[in-house]
């Protein structure tokens, strides 16, 4: 099932390989750190410009952020350091206090999602909740969720409308929502040239925003159009920023990298429902642990008629549609 997960060395499970890699990394770090310190000293001596203490600190932190490595290969210590830096950088830049989690996947949990196409009325409350919860770029009006309005009698995305503005539900129509389906066999993960995106043990496909180089190959590879790109620096009004964040989820993204739905990883790893599921006014969204036979999602899979989109592609989405 997890054939899509890249086999990578995790800290501690492959001693020799890792030690070698870390040694090289360490060397690089020492080298670059020294360069940074040198540059720092030079700029401190030479620049008489009004670089404030905060700006200088931010620059050092920024540099350390730049040379950090892929989140997957970080030790717990390194993860802690980057979290501290990111929180501090946010504080320095926007004055906001955010808290970035690194909560790992719970053992024995694989998330699944079911969407009731009989119930969805196209209100897009989920979209609103998603935007607020995940700190989505307000300027470009980025949305992870897309709600398609379709005529009764056809499930045909080609003739569906996702830009409806009229009063809903429209007579003779039904609604089908899409977002990242967290495929068990994700084509997007396979294609990433730098391994910046991967599937977590709980089935969530995540992105290390700081490792992504922005080539957008994953966007071309996704059959469900689930990935979004930061075409410009994302903009969220300071008072609307959700301070509860996860490194792999809704933390601040930067210009030029790809992002996607993570089933609200900062909520779901704490046992809470994704924001979209909780916001849905019609109860069309069902979320739960696929490995728990008593979960709601399992009840839906066992008792309802279900289908998935583009099953012929063998992506094995963990997102099912069902009807009453």
């Amino acid at each position: 099932m997890n054939s899509g997960t890249p086999r990578v060395a995790r800290p501690g499970d492959d001693g020799t390989l890792l030690r070698k890699r870390m040694d090289r990394r360490r060397a690089l770090h020492v080298l670059l750190g020294g360069a940074a310190a040198g540059a720092q000293a030079v700029s401190a001596c030479t620049s008489s410009s009004a670089a404030t203490e905060a700006e200088r600190e931010a620059r050092v932190l920024q540099w350390q952020e730049y040379i950090k490595r892929n989140y997957r290969f970080m030790t717990d210590e390194e993860r802690g350091e980057t979290i501290d830096r990111l929180e501090r950088l946010t504080k320095l830049r926007t004055g906001a206090d955010v808290s970035i989690q690194t909560t790992a996947a719970q053992p024995g949990v694989v998330f699944g999602y079911a969407f009731n196409i009989s119930r969805c009325k196209g209100f897009r409350s989920c979209v609103e909740a998603c935007i607020n919860e995940n700190n989505l770029d307000r300027r470009a009006a980025t949305q992870y969720i897309r709600i398609f309005e379709m005529k009764n009698g056809e499930v045909d995305l080609d003739h569906a409308d996702a830009t409806f503005e009229h009063e809903v539900p429209a007579e003779g129509h039904f609604y089908l929502g899409t977002q990242c389906f967290q495929c068990a066999n994700p084509p997007c993960v396979k294609v990433c040239p730098v391994g910046a995106t991967w599937q977590e043990p709980d089935g969530i496909t995540v992105i290390d925003y700081d490792w992504c180089i922005g080539c957008r190959y994953c966007m071309a590879a996704c059959p469900y159009w689930a990935r979004r790109f930061n075409w410009s620096a994302p903009d969220v009004p300071a008072e609307e920023v959700n301070p509860v964040q996860h490194y792999l989820g809704n933390r601040a993204r930067k210009q030029g990298v790809v992002e996607k739905c993570t089933f609200c990883i900062h909520r779901t790893r704490q046992g809470r429902l994704p924001a979209c599921a909780e916001a849905c006014p019609t109860g069309a969204r069902v979320f739960g642990n696929l490995l728990d036979p008593d979960s709601e999602i399992r009840w839906v899979l066992a008792n309802k008629r279900i289908f998935r989109l583009k099953e012929d592609l063998r992506t094995e989405p963990r997102f099912w549609y069902f009807t009453d």
Partner: protein, 429 residues
């Protein structure tokens, strides 16, 4: 000692020239600067200043990239007859072709660099300090093959030219194995780039087994066509003698490739339209437009018209042998393939989106300026390479340190021109 002299003579060759040369290089520099300015805007504001969107996430840059990979690959294919089949006529074309390959690769890599959102993260690709997702990601393959190909195309001609410069005959056993590798590699860069697109079931427009062969066919059309134009220009402007035989052979390659390319295009069109499945919807958008969206329709039909007209012209022997017709046909083919394999291949993969939404793409001025800048840089590189290589190849430039050594070995012609080392009389102006 020789190396410094080589660098100095290369610099001389690149910086000295007639008025027309300086105007040409000046114009290119100006375009490069405009492109650099446009790119600075893009770096500051983000890729939002381009016409790309979440729906059409690759645009003009990647279109040019796919086209230029073909150009790079095809140029190298001329090496095959020259070195392996010992075709004398091609001997002189090869060096030029390799310069074209290098220039095309430089453009390819630059188009990728300007396309990525986070170019400073480029070091993440380096194995060791970064992580290259090889062999799973076709893009990782592409990174490897493109850089390897660039290295091959830099090192082999450099070795040959440097040997000549220092008055030694290039040792066949040293460069020939690499030549063979380079030829295989030329096919691979093109196939890998085709696989990069063809391996995505998410995009049925690309997800066809014919894409790789089609890439090769179109590359062997556009590549030799470009080399013909370039050689013709060189023959007209310099003392470098290129035989008519080389032209006729190149023209023949171009003609055959153009025919195969058309056959493949027809197969593709038949497959997409005879039984119009859902998977043909992107082709429908490309050729006929969808729901009033038809930005690419005039382009693709012009491209088809150009390709057909040029192919027909090339198929008529008297026309092909007439330089005027040959040059026009090559120019038209080059543009036709550029459209067909650039925007005509990349953009419709995204329209409509995998969820059936139609969002059209139009490049912005920033994109066009950056593209022009990259092309200008490629032509700049090409000009410099040709200018450095030709005098050495023609034997007019040698290391100054050679004169101090009497009895320097007889200079052999580059390539398989027979081992006598005799020089053909060169045309004088």
């Amino acid at each position: 000692m020789h190396l410094t002299a080589f660098a100095r003579s290369a610099l001389d060759a690149a910086t000295n020239g007639g008025r027309r040369y300086h105007v040409w290089m000046g114009t290119l520099t100006l375009i490069i600067l405009v492109g650099a300015y446009a790119y600075s805007i893009q770096v500051r504001e983000g890729l939002g200043v381009t016409g790309m969107s979440d729906h059409v996430s690759w645009g003009f840059y990647i279109s040019n990239f796919t086209f230029l990979v073909g150009l790079a690959a095809a140029a190298m294919m001329l090496v095959l007859p020259a070195y392996v089949l010992h075709d004398v006529d091609f001997g002189r074309a090869v060096l030029i072709a390799e310069a074209v390959a290098v220039a095309a690769l430089v453009m390819c890599l630059l188009f990728v660099v300007v396309d990525v959102g986070n170019p400073l993260g480029g070091w993440h690709l380096l194995p060791g300090i970064g992580y290259l997702n090889w062999p799973r990601s076709l893009l990782a393959w592409d990174v490897i093959v493109l850089h390897g190909y660039l290295a091959l195309n830099l090192v082999i001609p450099f070795y040959i030219l440097y040997s000549r410069f220092t008055g030694r005959a290039p040792a066949k056993h040293k460069y020939l194995p690499w030549m063979y590798i380079a030829v295989m590699w030329a096919v691979s860069i093109h196939m890998v780039t085709a696989f990069l697109l063809a391996g995505l079931p998410a995009r049925p427009f690309w997800n066809t087994a014919l894409l790789g062969p089609r890439f090769l066919a179109s590359a062997f059309t556009a590549g030799p066509a470009f080399v013909i134009l370039l050689l013709w220009f060189i023959r007209r402007e310099t003392h470098y003698d290129i035989s008519d035989g080389a032209f006729s052979k190149l023209a023949l390659i171009t003609t055959v490739a153009a025919q195969i390319n058309l056959v493949m295009l027809i197969s593709e069109i038949f497959y997409k339209f005879y039984s119009p499945t859902h998977h043909g919807i992107n082709a429908r958008y490309l050729f006929f437009g969808l729901e009033g969206h038809n930005a690419l329709v005039p382009w693709i039909w012009s491209a088809i018209l150009m390709n057909v007209a040029a192919t027909v012209a090339l198929m008529i022997h008297p026309l092909r042998r007439n330089p005027k017709w040959l040059m026009s046909a090559c120019a038209v083919l080059f543009v036709g393939i550029w459209i067909e394999k650039g925007i005509g291949l990349v953009i419709p993969g995204f329209v409509p989106s995998p969820l059936g939404e139609i969002v059209e793409y139009r490049p912005t001025w920033v994109e066009l300026a950056v593209t022009a800048g990259v092309w200008a840089l490629g032509l700049f590189v090409l000009t410099v390479l040709v200018r450095v290589a030709l005098p050495i190849e023609m034997g007019t430039v040698r290391s100054p340190h050679l004169t101090e050594r009497p009895g320097a070995p007889v200079i052999r012609r580059f390539g398989p021109r027979g081992g006598t080392g005799e020089q053909r009389p060169v045309r004088t102006k």
